[in-house]
């Protein structure tokens, strides 16, 4: 083929990574290596410094004034499990949107099996969550409101600040799944009344896989049972888990090389500015949506206006299987995207794309107009040949 790959699968994992991310991971493995803070020698100190800097950078990006409220995990799924399973008890009620990823739905279904009532608020066929519907669902006493900030299927953005305010007014905890938004949508956890926010490091934060975290607002930890217990490098003489942040939720040796890389990813995002990244990605998404809409038989799912979405563009092609198209895009054109249900069957049911799923193109900061043109022209040629 010889041609540069066109990577449009950034919602699954962003690629390429900024060079400082790669260098930081390598340096941490090659030159530092030690267990962060546990031992007190120079390499241990250096490893702990990197994690502290990452915690501060992450808190800054999320608008959290206290970095100790940021807990590192291996991914957003772990963070969401910590939030859901740590907070809910039998007899509790939770309100969730119908656009959720399985990283929210599966732990919720497990909780339902233990006597938690789960009310799913139906979103519009574009994937929009109506705050008034959330308000109606909150007429009954509810422990937790949880929803995805930006859909991994339709790209639709949820009005989080408004829903946060509604949850607060109704005395419910408010948890946001920011897997697809942290780094490409402005987030301010304090202004948005967020109690818990799960993020992943390897998507719009440009860090390595195996990094993520959970923001836990002041006071929420008293209600949030840790899922894991173990060594923290603190209170070593005691056999009970420390109650303070972040040790309460961070047991065992962390992914120091990954977190060192995440620090560089977050620094990259912060130095460009989330708004700059969003402008670039949104303009490419608009270009892609416009071009795709002109191909006969192609339907773009999700909202049509730019402001209501992140740079995720899902389509269905009449009479053709998304998996077959994705295969041809990869094999014949070097265009990489993702077909199917994207681990979000409920979202596809909402968008009327279940069970066939969609073909999803997801844009990152390193994509260019040339990538979009190549993807569109490849798709045109595949559609022209037919299914």
């Amino acid at each position: 083929m010889g041609e540069e790959l066109v990577y449009l699968d950034n919602a699954a994992s962003s690629w390429p990574k900024p060079e400082p991310v790669v260098r930081a991971v390598e340096r941490m493995v090659r030159e530092v290596g030690a267990n962060p803070g546990r031992s007190g020698h120079r390499l241990s100190v250096e490893a702990a410094r990197a994690i502290t800097e990452a915690r501060c950078a992450m808190a800054g990006l999320l608008g959290a004034s206290n970095p100790l409220r940021v807990v590192f995990t291996k991914n957003a799924t772990e963070a969401l499990n910590m939030a859901i399973r740590g907070l809910l008890r039998p007899g509790d009620r939770v309100v969730v949107s119908s656009m959720e990823h399985n990283s929210v739905m599966r732990p919720l279904m497990a909780e339902r099996g233990r006597g938690v009532e789960v009310e799913v608020v139906r979103c519009s066929p574009e994937g929009r969550l109506d705050p008034d519907d959330v308000k109606r669902a909150l007429k009954r006493r509810t422990r937790l409101v949880i929803h995805v900030h930006a859909s991994n299927v339709s790209g639709c953005v949820t009005p989080a600040a408004e829903i946060g305010r509604i949850a607060r007014e109704h005395g419910a905890f408010y948890c946001v799944d920011a897997a697809q938004s942290a780094g490409c949508l402005p987030i301010d956890v304090e202004r948005m009344n967020v109690d818990l926010l799960a993020f992943t490091g390897h998507k719009s934060l440009y860090g390595p896989q195996g990094t993520g975290g959970l923001y836990v607002a002041e006071g929420v930890d008293a209600h949030l049972q840790p899922l894991m217990a173990g060594g923290t490098g603190s209170l070593s003489e005691r056999e009970e888990q420390p109650a303070f942040m972040p040790d309460r939720y961070e047991s065992g040796t962390p992914n120091t090389p990954g977190i060192a890389g995440l620090l560089e990813g977050v620094t990259f995002v912060a130095s460009l500015g989330v708004d700059t990244i969003r402008r670039h990605e949104t303009s490419l998404a608009a270009l892609l949506m416009d071009a795709l809409s002109e191909i006969p038989g192609v339907r773009v799912v999700g909202p049509t206006d730019r402001e209501s979405r992140v740079a995720i563009v899902s389509i269905v092609v009449a009479g053709m299987d998304p998996g077959e198209i994705a295969y041809r895009l990869d094999e014949d054109h070097g265009v990489l995207c993702r077909p199917g249900l994207h681990c979000a069957p409920s979202a596809h049911a909402t968008l009327a794309t279940f069970p066939a799923g969609t073909l999803r193109f997801s844009i990152g900061y390193f994509n260019t107009e040339e990538h979009i043109h190549r993807a569109v022209s490849a798709l045109k040629s595949i559609v022209a040949k037919g299914g």
Binding site: G37, A48, T52, P67, S234, F244, D247
Partner: protein
Amino acid sequence: MSATPRSVILFESVTAAFMAEKVLKAEGIAYKIIPVPRYLSSECGVCVRIDEADAARARAVLEGRVAVADILPLRHEGP
């Protein structure tokens, strides 16, 4: 071997110790992160050593920013 009297700042967590390091660095207070001397009871394995003369200032700049478990005189020359 320096005869300068030293103090150690103790913290409940490793994270707090390293948050304190950022503050002390920004404030221009000389410090070193060291393992907690064995004779001291500490909640975490590392502490921050400073000159005793800086102890009051260190306490003041950390106030409200990083939770300090204790600031104690360092009894011996080490580490």
